[in-house]
Assembly symmetry: C2
Homo-oligomer: 148 residues x 2
DNA sequence: TAAAAATCAGATATTTATGTCTGATAAAAC
DNA sequence: GTTTTATCAGACATAAATATCTGATTTTTA
C-alpha cells in the first residue's frame, strides 16, 4: 500500500482543521474532538500532544481544559504539521530507494519525480491554515460529521 | 512516516529494472538478483512471484530457472508495476482521509493535491521500462551495486 | 534414475505503525 | 479542601507491513 500522508498525519490535519474553524471558541477536549472526527480520543490526544510539543497547538489542563491553535492561522503552514507528524524524509529520499541517488547520479525517476515532489512541497509550504479555512468555510459543510 | 511507494514496491521496481537491463541474458535466480540488489532473496522471490501472477515477469523452475521480463520493455509501464504491488488506491482516496470528499464536496486539499496526484499518475503511465532503461544505460552506472 | 538447483505456496516470525490503558498532575467548580 | 475533569507521560496491546522459513514440485545435469 502507498500513502502520501500517514494515518497519524491525516488525523492531525483533520483535528487542526477542526480547531482552526473553531479557533475563537474555547479549548476543545480530546473527547470533544473525537466526537466530531470519527477517531478514538486517546489517539487524537496523543497526536495533539505531539503538536503541542511542536508549538502548533496549545493545551490547557484541568476542568475547562483542552486544545486550541497556538498561533495566528496564517502563520501555520500545512508543511509544518506534516513535518511535525511524519517528518520530511519523503522530500529528500530517493523514490526508488537507491542509496547513491543524487543530482550527479540520478536514478531513472530522479528528475521526473523530483519535479512533482518539489511541487508538492511548495504547495504544502504555501498553504496556511488560513487559506485552507477560507476554502473550507465557503463550501465544505457536509463532507464529514465535523463539518470541517 | 510518509511514503510514496511501499518498500515492496521500491524493491519490485529495482528488481524489474535489473531484469530489464539484462533482458537478453538468461533467467535470473532470486539469489542472483539479491546479490546485486541488497535485499534478502526470499523477499525478492515473493515479490517477483506476485509480478509473475500479474503477467509482468515470467519464471522458469528447475536448475537453470529464474525470472525474466515477460513482454517487450515498451509495453510495461511503471504504473503497471505500482498497480500490481501497491494498488492504485492512493490515486483515488482523499488525501486528508475524509470519507465524503468528492468533486461536489471537495476537501480543502482536493483540487491542489488532485492536480499533483494526476500529474504523478500520468508520469507513471507514460514512462515504460524502455524509457527508463534508456536513461539508465546512459548515465546511471555507479548509483548502486547492481549498476542498474 | 538420482542429485542439484530453482520456483512456489503457505506458514511463521519480526518489526513498525496504529491504537489503548493506567496512574500522575493540574486546574476549575463546588 | 474535596471532587471533577482535563492533559500528560509512558507502558501496553493490536494490526499491518516486512521478512524468513519449510516442504513440495519442477527441471537440468550427470
Amino acid at each position: 500500500m502507498t500513502v502520501i500522508f500517514s494515518k497519524k498525519c491525516e488525523l492531525a490535519l483533520q483535528a487542526v482543521l477542526y480547531l482552526s474553524v473553531n479557533k475563537d471558541k474555547n479549548f476543545f477536549s480530546a473527547s470533544g474532538i473525537s466526537e466530531q472526527i470519527k477517531m478514538p480520543k486517546e489517539f487524537i490526544a496523543k497526536i495533539l500532544q505531539s503538536l503541542v510539543s511542536h508549538g502548533i497547538v496549545v493545551s490547557k489542563k484541568g476542568k475547562t481544559g483542552g486544545f486550541n491553535i497556538n498561533k495566528p492561522l496564517n502563520e501555520i503552514r500545512l508543511i509544518d504539521i506534516v513535518a511535525a507528524v511524519d517528518g520530511l524524509e519523503i522530500f529528500h529520499k530517493c523514490v526508488l530507494g537507491f542509496e547513491g541517488c543524487n543530482v550527479e547520479q540520478p536514478c531513472p525517476l530522479h528528475n521526473k519525480w523530483g519535479k512533482l515532489r518539489d511541487m508538492t512541497y511548495n504547495m504544502l509550504s504555501e498553504e496556511t491554515l488560513l487559506d485552507i479555512l477560507d476554502k473550507t468555510e465557503e463550501k465544505i459543510k457536509s463532507i464529514n460529521p465535523a463539518n470541517i
